[in-house]
Symmetry: C2
Subunit: 216 residues, 2 copies
């Protein structure tokens, strides 16, 4: 919402088929929202039927735990997220972060910045362990060398993928993979016979309808 | 060669553009060749100009080190391989195996069978470390849950990909990805700006010419 013009007005006139994940970041979390009124605006968004999930930063959830119940009363599920734009925490730290996110919300999401390929393996291993522990986790290693984690994170249990809708180079950050390509990558690397029950539960809410026309 | 009919005759009449990796496995390495004459036949194959690489098992190289120089005199490069069809060795053991393979040949290749996703991460981490140590390594985690390592092994330094040529389900084992799809996956996950010097050196020998007509 912090990068959209009049996001509440846009939600009012929204007649698409896709359910929406609402986010309103301030500068500390890579966004542009002012602190003043930030959560009120996000709360207003959560009242719309089309908003199925709200993404709230772990730091926000921790500082203002009381708002979480209020969001839930608007019939949204909660993604609790942690972003590290400069490094990848050590494996035990990242595991603790995911545990905390899972304690506050329905999906624990982490996005980290890998300095090398050992960091991308740390992210995948943490996703694997969280999934084994029964947590609905999602994770991304940002940047160029983390790009492949967007494609195969699902193998290690990641429950959400993020992709720009348009196949337009100027519109996405290093490592991001446009939706049409990401979908092909996920489908090609999906493990037959995996228990998809939990993934399907999420998909009911947020998957892209097959009739959506994709560029490319 | 162990699964081909009259492989030497086929090499004699071969007029394709693709350079060939010759292999002749006995049952211990997943093949059908009898021990009697196995290496002689492989040696005969290595005399053909179209045969650019010979794949020799680590166990064979270790037991009969003297043959390696003889193969080299036929102007082929050596892939020294180790296969484990039942498990994935611990990380330090797998690293030692790759080091040994690299000591005997030009490319160290390991194929392991993962029992879970921690094994696939072990394989990727070993490839990463070998690559950092300056070894030309290649690796695969076999089976269904290892399938994605075929697609993204290159990110961690793997120098060879293996794919069935035909897009025919009956023709390939669990986890194998047909060539057309594998190429798309590799291209989609290739890291821009990676130093491709070593990959290109291998590609000069074994890459698939772009004019090859691929199914699908």
């Amino acid at each position: 919402m912090d990068k959209a013009e009049n996001p509440i007005e846009q939600l009012e006139s929204y007649d698409g088929e896709l359910p929406i994940i609402a986010t309103n970041r301030n500068q500390w979390f890579g966004g542009k929202a002012r602190d003043q009124g930030r959560l009120d605006t996000l709360f207003a968004a959560s009242r719309f039927d089309d908003v199925a999930y709200v993404d709230i930063e772990l730091e926000t959830a921790r500082a203002k735990e009381w708002i979480l119940e209020e969001f839930r009363e608007n019939d949204v599920r909660l993604i609790i997220s942690h972003h590290d734009f400069e490094t990848t925490p050590d494996e035990d730290v990242l595991t603790a972060i995911i545990d905390q996110c899972a304690g506050y919300g329905d999906i624990a999401k982490v996005a980290v910045y890998p300095k090398d390929l050992s960091d991308t393996l740390t992210l995948l291993d943490v996703l694997r362990e969280a999934t084994e522990a029964g947590i609905d986790a999602a994770g991304i290693a940002m940047g160029e060398i983390g790009s492949h984690t967007r494609a195969i994170g699902h193998v290690y249990g990641s429950k959400l993928g993020y992709a720009p809708l348009l196949d337009d180079d100027s519109e996405y950050a290093p490592g991001q993979i446009p939706l049409g390509k990401l979908r092909a990558l996920v489908e090609s690397t999906r493990i037959a016979g995996t228990n998809l029950e939990r993934i399907e539960a999420v998909e009911d809410d947020v998957t892209v309808p097959s009739e959506l026309t994709l560029p490319n």
